[in-house]
């Protein structure tokens, strides 16, 4: 089911852990849906100098978190914000269709950590970027309140209920 790269990141995940006193913390998902990720970042001179994560989830979830952490380490805040689920899935050499939403979660958790960092830095005046909604089946981006995916027609109720 999974590519070699995914299995490698699953068996040997990079950057697992927690950063006490992190500059930014981002948490997405919840165990009820089966996926939860918490990302911690340490930022110096606008560069992510350390990143750690913890994940509750399947093989894809763990591999995605690991890959996201690897892609984010050493990048500037702006570069890290450009990490998308598509790029993560590509770096992993592909994910099964029904696991694509795990890649959304990883990128989301990292972005949330970055936003948390920004909020802490700039104070409450900072406005978070509106969250995008991706179909877990065909990965097309949909308007946030869409009930059905414009790409493949599948129902998106579950996605919205997850709060990510």
């Amino acid at each position: 089911m999974y590519t070699q790269t995914v299995m490698d990141h699953f068996k040997n995940p990079r950057n697992v852990g927690v950063i006490e006193g992190a500059d930014g913390v981002g948490e997405v998902g919840n165990p009820v849906c089966g996926d939860m990720m918490t990302f911690y970042i340490k930022v110096k001179d606008n560069v992510i100098e350390d990143v750690k994560f913890q994940t509750f989830g399947c093989g894809a979830a763990i591999a995605v978190s690991s890959m996201v952490s690897e892609m984010a380490l050493g990048k500037t805040i702006e570069e890290a914000f450009q990490i998308t689920n598509k790029k993560v899935a590509e770096a992993l050499e592909g994910l099964p269709k029904q696991k694509m939403h795990c890649s959304n979660l990883g990128a989301d958790a990292l972005h949330k950590a970055i936003e948390d960092y920004k909020m802490k830095k700039e104070g409450k005046a900072y406005k978070p970027t509106p969250k995008k909604c991706y179909c877990p089946f065909c990965d097309v981006e949909n308007p946030n309140e869409a009930a059905f995916c414009t790409g493949c027609g599948k129902g998106l109720q579950d996605e919205h209920e997850h709060g990510h």
Binding site: E27, P31, V32, G34, T55, F56, G57, Q98
Partner: protein
């Protein structure tokens, strides 16, 4: 690396005698049972011999057995066949909330066509209460369908008691006994059922052969129209080799059920006794005593099933799980939710199903490799971290 296969509810190897019995029906006796010539006659004889064997396994007359391709087909035939044949009398069907997809989705389809489906609740062990069935039956009810045993959590349902009620109320009663037949005693008269589904692949027979027991006198509409095989109730050239195999498997099962039950209970018992000693925050699912002998169903808190499954697979241990990530629909097991298991806990579900090829050492090996896997995943789980912080 030695493989320890403990996923027998998904699939199992066939008995060597079953294999031997099947081969001639691929190579020499390949006739069509409907052909009038001698090759056809030979195939016909083999088919009827298998029919008798399957009948004897469940205490039924041979002529009341309809051969199908699998358990799913038998379930579809039972539900749709009865619904369509009896809809003039009423359009209500009662099922439980923990049925196999082939009953659940079949019922959903019938619901879309205008039938009314009542889905009965179950208790924390997944048990249906016969009194609840009684209260649910109305003058419009034409069929009650409750599974004999549930493979995901192991619970065996009180089918005989429910059968007494349906008899009294003169409502047809079907049971999906796919996971029971050949593993625990099943007798259609003791159970008071009018229809019963079974499949050869769950008692060391081949995939591709199943059966529906249909009590004499019960009207049913066929699913497959075509030739007049199976008294016009199931068209299609019969899968003779697989049916022959199922017949031999049935004969072996009739003899071996007591031995299988006690052996598998022993293997499952070893795991059940030792797991809580090696892994904290773990709970067992399904009824503690009324359960399939080789079935061990647990929920490991704070981590997810597929991840555990993949690591176990790397250690050569084959198991299953009810977590959402495992299912193609990405939904947590409906069986567990119906039992009141919270979704987060259900994500950590693991299902071990022992079979006759397993040895006592297999249980020990599982006890050796699972705890480190659980510890490793818990150490990287934010859910575990939060839970432990709360307990501190």
């Amino acid at each position: 690396m030695a493989v320890i296969y403990t996923d027998h509810v998904a699939a199992m190897p066939i008995h060597p005698k079953v294999y031997e019995a099947m081969v001639p029906y691929f190579k020499e006796f390949y006739g069509n049972p409907s052909s009038i010539h001698e090759d056809g006659e030979k195939a016909r004889e083999a088919l009827e011999e298998a029919r008798g064997r399957v009948g004897r396994l469940i205490g039924a007359q041979a002529e009341d057995i309809i051969f199908t391709s699998c358990g799913t087909e038998s379930n579809n035939l039972a539900l749709k066949g009865i619904a369509l044949a009896h809809q003039a009398k009423g359009k209500e069907i009662i099922i439980s909330g923990i049925e196999h997809f082939s009953i659940m989705h079949c019922a959903n389809a019938l619901e879309k066509s205008g039938f009314h489906i009542t889905r009965l609740p179950v208790d924390q062990y997944g048990m249906v209460d016969p009194a609840v069935v009684e209260r649910a039956i109305t003058p419009q009810t034409i069929l009650v369908s409750i599974m004999h045993s549930n493979p995901e959590v192991g619970t065996i349902e009180p089918i005989a008691e429910i059968g007494i009620i349906t008899r009294a109320k003169k409502v047809l009663f079907h049971t999906d006994a796919v996971d029971s037949v050949g593993n625990i005693p099943v007798d259609v008269n003791e159970l008071n059922v009018d229809l019963l589904s079974l499949a050869g692949s769950t008692f060391y027979g081949p995939k591709g052969a199943g059966a529906l027991y249909l009590r004499k006198g019960v009207k049913i509409q066929p699913l497959l129209d075509g030739g007049i095989q199976e008294r016009g109730l199931r068209a299609g050239t019969e899968n003779v080799p697989a049916i022959v195999g199922m017949g031999v498997a049935a004969e072996l099962a009739l003899e071996e059920i007591p031995k299988r039950m006690s052996y598998l209970k022993g293997l499952a018992g070893r795991l059940t006794e030792q797991l809580p000693k090696r892994i904290p925050y773990i709970r067992f699912l399904g009824h503690p005593t009324q359960r399939l002998p080789g079935n061990v169903s647990v929920a490991v808190e704070y981590i997810e099933g597929e991840a555990m499954l993949l690591f176990m697979d790397m250690e050569g241990v084959r198991i299953s799980s009810g977590s959402a990530c495992i299912s193609r629909s990405l939904k947590v097991s409906h069986v567990m939710l119906a039992m009141g298991v919270d979704a987060a806990t259900a994500q950590g579900s693991l299902l071990f199903s022992f079979g006759m090829q397993n040895k006592p050492e297999d249980a020990d090996r599982i006890l050796e490799v699972l705890p480190p896997i659980v510890e490793r995943l818990r150490n990287m789980s934010p859910v575990y971290r939060k839970a432990m912080a709360k307990k501190a």
